[in-house]
């Protein structure tokens, strides 16, 4: 028994030393590869956290990253803007990114592209926070508490360097092979929605909309949304909430989450620009990639139309 126990303990120690060494070697390699990217979603995040500076920062989900063309905003308004929109990310993420950015930057305006269902409970909203893991070692005080919302044991996992880069390696390789153009965070969609796409997606959207009726609010999301506005107001940075074009709904509808968002915004005196009822987009389905996202042409038109309404806030 004692001999076996000794053998197990010795083997265990050896195995842990090997694991530790592999973690240091592979984790360092992954960190190097990650932070030397030149394209893709993680590059945009990394660039925004480290270098991006500007007068206007645009926050939001995929609708933000596909709708706001900083090149057009910069040229038309003679400003410097950057699009921080990120696919699948909701208000917890936006609030965290805002805190990181405002640590050492003072933009003139923050545009928050609103997704109507942001305040509903959503496991995806928590799961997608994993994309912040690679930046944890740089901003542990800001990112650590947010990742703890996923699981209290995240702190233990994060001791592994390799774990911080979970689900990033293939992504990095993919964009090294097939790089995306750097459009200051803007990601164009090139598909033109046809009537068949529209018919099928409307069906899916209506089912989703019906199921949204009974959804509950997540208090953590409400707090994060209030925090976002409060932080900007306290630092005297202007905030503008925008509902960019969406073929699925008209904003003055019956979505309780959206109504709550509007209430909170109002309590901080934040103006809201609504493009969901813009007849121009409602009449031109060919400007959409799908029912939720504008395509490249649609995004360019939207960005120009947005410029006209942004002038008073700059």
């Amino acid at each position: 028994m004692k001999g076996q126990l000794k053998s197990i303990v010795v083997k265990g120690i050896k195995f842990f030393v090997i694991l530790f060494l592999i973690d240091i070697i592979l984790g360092s390699a992954a960190r190097f590869v990650f932070f030397t990217q030149k394209s893709g979603k993680f590059y945009r995040m990394s660039h925004a956290f480290r270098q991006a500076d500007g007068d206007v920062f645009i926050f939001g989900s995929s609708r933000s990253s596909h709708h706001y063309h900083p090149g057009i905003l910069d040229k038309t308004l003679a400003i410097n803007s950057y699009n921080l929109g990120s696919q699948g990310q909701q208000i917890l993420y936006q609030s965290t990114v805002q805190k990181i950015l405002l640590q050492n930057r003072r933009p003139k305006l923050l545009i928050l592209d609103i997704s109507p269902d942001w305040l509903y409970k959503s496991q995806d909203a928590y799961d997608n926070l994993s994309e912040l893991r690679p930046f944890w070692f740089r901003f542990p005080d800001i990112i650590g508490p947010v990742l703890s919302l996923q699981s209290k044991l995240q702190k233990i996992w994060l001791f592994s360097r390799s774990y911080q880069y979970n689900s990033t390696i293939v992504h990095i390789l993919y964009y090294r092979i097939k790089p995306q153009g750097d459009l200051k965070g803007y990601v164009p969609l090139l598909h033109i929605m046809n009537s068949e796409d529209y018919r099928v997606q409307r069906g899916v959207d209506s089912i989703k909309f019906m199921s949204e009726q009974d959804r509950e609010f997540d208090p953590a999301f409400e707090t994060a949304f209030s925090d976002f506005l409060k932080t900007a107001v306290s630092k005297k940075i202007a905030v503008l909430m925008v509902c960019s074009p969406d073929i699925r709904f008209k904003m003055e509808g019956h979505n309780p989450s959206l109504q709550k968002i509007m209430e909170i915004g109002k309590s901080y005196g934040i103006p809201l620009l609504d493009f969901t009822d813009d007849p121009y987009f409602a009449a031109h389905r060919e400007l959409f990639n799908d029912t939720r996202h504008l395509n490249d042409l649609g995004a360019k038109i939207f960005s120009r139309r947005l410029c006209d309404r942004l002038r008073p806030y700059l």
């Binding site: 592999i22 979970n166 689900s167």
Partner: protein, 482 residues
């Protein structure tokens, strides 16, 4: 508490350490307490079902062994089987049966099923019921004595690595081990082998099954949007998802038991390298297929053979073939129902039954092994369409679309583009390992290398592969729901 949760990663070592610290004669008590705690982590009230089932089976076996009157023995055996199957039917199939009757008689009032009939099945009931049934039948036929120790028997039913999804153990195999003192002594080889199995299980689950599920769920969640090529890709990925999910679970279960010195049945043996459907069922879910063979197919075949041998009008077809056909079809039809109360599972099981009958009739083997493997895989792939679809209508929609509307391959854009790539990467690694084991009898092995550092580095790298490529949101294992 899922096997792929942090809670289990903390629970298992704690139990193993306590197991070896506890005197041998009290270990059953520790394991029983740990097993009941593990089980109660889902829904504490379900423990009542398992305790009741345990008490009934324990007492029935004792009653059977205490009587020499054959008729009485048989009566006890049959009534115990009825009670066990009754529990299974009540919890798993009552809602389905009510729904079926309603469809037949009152199709215009679909909302009338009493909520009381739609009970939630206690997790693992399909597995521990089969385990208990085999015990009762074995005692009846004198293959083993009735277990006198109620605690040991309760542990046999509820042993935590196996209770949720097997492997389905036999009383003749597991029960003696629970008493064997030599086996339960600390051996470094058990710890090493157990850890190796668990690491490999996590690789299968987190890297392949959970990655493939992202694509498969996206396609099956939105059928009208996709074409035939996408469905084919999704079905191929699903074939690996279901395999690696269940094989991963089984590896963790076997590894967990091995840490404490227990030897549990193997459940998978590279099933997609089978040359025939018959062979497939000797490599896929082996503990279930062997259970079905021993406790369902063989008795059925025996009964049918007695009937068909007497029938003189069956001169064209041999009685042996007829016997096989009837027994195989019924066995696999029941196998389908065992997976769940759905028409799609029945079709899935029936298809396998029909495949076996046809195989027996025409002897389709060409002599070329690779071609046979390919044909078998395609046949199995076809049945997975029914297994994965929510209803028969969806399954036929997929089949029709494959032949009539190929469309374009669906590739999720932006960050999601990596999900199928990760999955394919994992599958390639798995296939390389399996091809080596299946076709090449190489003496060189990284995982069984004589140099312990080579073994350690290999498994260390596998852990890091999991850390880099795995999905860590503790999704459920698929076979829990069966």
């Amino acid at each position: 508490m899922f096997f792929n949760s942090i809670q289990y990663i903390l629970f298992l070592p704690a139990v193993v350490i306590l197991f070896y610290l506890t005197p041998l004669r009290f270990r059953w008590l520790l394991l029983l307490a740990a097993s009941y705690y593990f089980y109660m982590c889902w829904k504490p009230e379900f423990i009542v079902v398992i305790v009741v089932s345990t008490l009934i089976n324990y007492s029935s076996a004792l009653l059977m062994s205490g009587t020499s009157v054959q008729k009485r023995k048989k009566l006890i055996m049959i009534s115990t089987l009825v009670i066990n199957l009754g529990l299974l039917v009540i919890f798993k199939y009552l809602g389905f049966i009510a729904e079926m009757f309603q469809t037949i008689f009152q199709s215009d009032h679909p909302s009338r099923i009493s909520p009381a009939l739609l009970l939630i099945a206690p997790i693992g009931i399909s597995y521990y019921t089969l385990q208990s049934l085999s015990y009762i039948i074995d005692v009846y036929y004198g293959r083993r004595d009735a277990e006198k120790h109620p605690g040991i028997f309760a542990l046999y039913v509820a042993f935590f690595p196996l209770i949720l999804s097997g492997p389905i153990e036999r009383s003749t195999h597991l029960l003696p081990q629970l008493r064997e003192k030599e086996r339960q002594k600390l051996h470094s080889v058990n710890i090493e082998e157990g850890i190796k199995l668990i690491i490999f299980g996590y690789f299968l689950k987190l890297v392949i099954a959970d990655r493939t599920s992202i694509y498969v769920d996206a396609v099956f969640g939105n059928l009208p949007r996709h074409g035939g090529i996408t469905f084919m890709a999704a079905i191929v990925l699903y074939s690996f998802q279901i395999y690696t999910d269940f094989a991963g679970y089984s590896a963790i279960a076997i590894g967990s038991a091995r840490l404490m010195g227990f030897d549990v049945y193997q459940n998978f043996n590279r099933p997609y390298f089978s040359s025939s459907i018959r062979e497939f069922w000797t490599r896929w879910h082996m503990s279930l297929s062997s259970w079905l063979r021993d406790y369902l197919f063989n008795p059925l075949a025996f009964s049918f053979m007695r009937i068909f041998r007497k029938e003189r009008y069956l001169k064209i077809i041999s009685p042996e073939f007829l016997t096989y056909a009837f027994a195989a079809f019924i066995t696999f039809f029941i196998c389908g129902i065992w997976h769940g109360a759905r028409l799609t599972f029945m079709i899935w099981g029936s298809l396998h039954g029909i495949y076996l009958i046809i195989e027996r009739a025409i002897d389709r083997k060409t002599g070329k092994r690779l071609l046979n493997i390919f044909i078998t895989y395609i046949m199995v792939l076809f049945t997975w369409i029914f297994f994965r679809s929510d209803n028969v209508h969806d399954a036929f929609l997929i089949i029709r679309t494959i032949f009539t509307h190929p469309g374009k391959l669906y590739i999720p854009f932006d960050s999601d583009v990596v999900a199928p790539v990760y999955a394919v990467l994992g599958i390639v690694i798995l296939l390389l390992i399996e091809i080596k084991r299946e076709f090449f009898d190489l003496k060189f092995s990284l995982t069984k290398n004589r140099n312990e550092y080579v073994r350690m580095i290999t498994y260390g790298l596998l852990i890091f592969l999991i850390l880099y490529l795995g999905v860590f949101d503790a999704s459920q294992f698929m076979y829990f729901k069966f």
